[in-house]
């Protein structure tokens, strides 16, 4: 093969690159054969937050070719400093699991199965049912004739997926309806 100045320089460049990688701690020798390839190599890092509890640990999602390939704790975030509990550590499976719901599911009264519904239908149903129930059950005055505006037949279950600000808005909306029964469940 005829060697030109250009190909010679290319060779030198590649040699320098290999040397640098070796010095940076990438073992290019024997180990390569039996250690699997780093699955997040070259992946883009996307920051997100664990949805499971009020600690709100920060997560790095590794995205490769537009697909999420791995998740782990964000070491730069002061609250969790890279760590995660069993729930947060399993976020990647939550994303890939075939149990994951991607559309609203509806089970009609006395029905024995769930059916997929659109968001439009679901939100419309919720709005109508809240309105109907409230119109029917709202208690405007108590026995003494004092104004109470109480709506006792609806219960609101909160979630730790909601941020502080979302909780404030939800709370105000429900108080506005007259709902008095509200609670929180950290696992929903």
């Amino acid at each position: 093969m005829q060697s030109t100045r250009r190909s010679f320089l290319k060779g030198v460049g590649a040699g320098v690159l290999c040397l640098t990688l070796g010095q940076m701690g990438f073992d290019l020798g024997e180990a390569k054969a039996y250690v699997r390839k780093l699955k997040i190599e070259g992946a883009k890092e996307v920051i997100s937050i664990c949805p499971f509890c009020a600690v709100q640990c920060q997560i790095i999602g590794h995205v490769k070719d537009g697909k999420l390939v791995s998740t782990e704790g964000d070491p730069d975030y002061p609250i969790n400093e890279g760590s995660l509990c069993a729930k947060g550590a399993a976020l990647f499976t939550m994303y890939t699991s075939d149990h994951r719901l991607k559309k609203p599911m509806y089970r009609a009264p006395h029905s024995d199965h769930w059916e997929e519904k659109s968001w439009e239908w679901t939100l419309d149903q919720i709005a109508h049912r809240v309105k109907e129930t409230r119109d029917r059950d709202i208690i405007l005055k108590n026995d003494k004739g004092q104004t109470v505006n109480r709506f006792e037949t609806m219960f609101w279950m909160g979630t730790s997926h909601a941020s502080n600000e979302e909780c404030a808005v939800i709370h105000q909306a429900l108080r506005g309806l007259g709902v008095v029964h509200m609670d929180h469940q950290a696992r929903v």
């Binding site: 990438f26 180990a31 039996y34 699997r36 699955k39 791995s70 782990e72 995660l84």
Partner: protein, 219 residues
């Protein structure tokens, strides 16, 4: 310089973050499990769990319940007996990466016969390797060698939210282990470091190994 782990069991709250993070990093599928009367789940190491947190409880001399947690994994022995045994049948089936100290099962392990596999499993003083009958490969913790080679922490250590697990250069971890032992001894006078010289995964145990797991320590 080889790497080492320190697992301070007195700091472990058995959240099992390590167990799950390991499973996620290695893309291992779920196991079908059932309630067996303990939080230890799945009940044992298996081809889909390279790491599990073992739970064990007993009464102390005052009649109080003591609940011990033991995040079990391959010790990446300084002189791995599994490798010695496997080498007799198929050289290179199990290798030791000298740079990290990781003991790794290679694809050549598929050539091991049933008898060889049984011999390797029986040889492990810590009862770690398990056979994946689908791939005919031995499975166990690989120290996240892919991560460690790229300068990252093994997934279990990275995830641990209580600081029970540390990872680093062996001499630094040995120093840290001694420092933690001095602190832990004030509360647990019987505390000790399990079989430090021979393993890369050093366990700080608060009491005798029988209160953790039969194979928690060699001696």
């Amino acid at each position: 310089m080889p790497k080492s782990f320190l697992v301070d069991t007195t700091r472990c709250t058995a959240c099992r973050g390590c167990q799950l993070a390991c499973k996620e990093w290695h893309d291992l599928p779920a196991n079908e499990t059932k309630q067996t009367g303990t939080h230890q789940n799945p009940p044992d190491l298996n081809p889909y769990n390279y790491k599990i947190v073992r739970f064990r409880e007993h009464l102390d001399e005052k009649g109080n319940v003591v609940w011990n947690f033991f995040p079990d994994q391959c010790r990446h022995c300084v002189i791995p007996i599994c490798k010695e045994v496997a080498d007799m049948a198929v050289p290179g089936a199990i290798v030791k990466d000298e740079r990290t100290g990781a003991v790794l099962v290679t694809e050549k392990a598929a050539q091991l016969s049933e008898a060889d596999i049984k011999a390797v499993i029986d040889a492990c003083p810590y009862n770690i390797p398990r056979l994946d009958t689908k791939t005919h490969l031995l499975t166990k913790c690989d120290m996240c060698a892919d991560r460690v080679q790229a300068g990252m922490l093994p997934m279990c250590v990275k995830t641990c939210p209580t600081g029970a697990m540390s990872f680093g250069e062996r001499d630094e971890i040995l120093d840290l282990a001694q420092k933690r032992l001095d602190v832990v001894k004030q509360k647990h006078p019987k505390a000790y470091l399990a079989y430090v010289r021979d393993v890369s995964v050093i366990y700080l145990l608060a009491e005798e190994k029988k209160y953790y797991y039969e194979y928690a320590s060699f001696m």
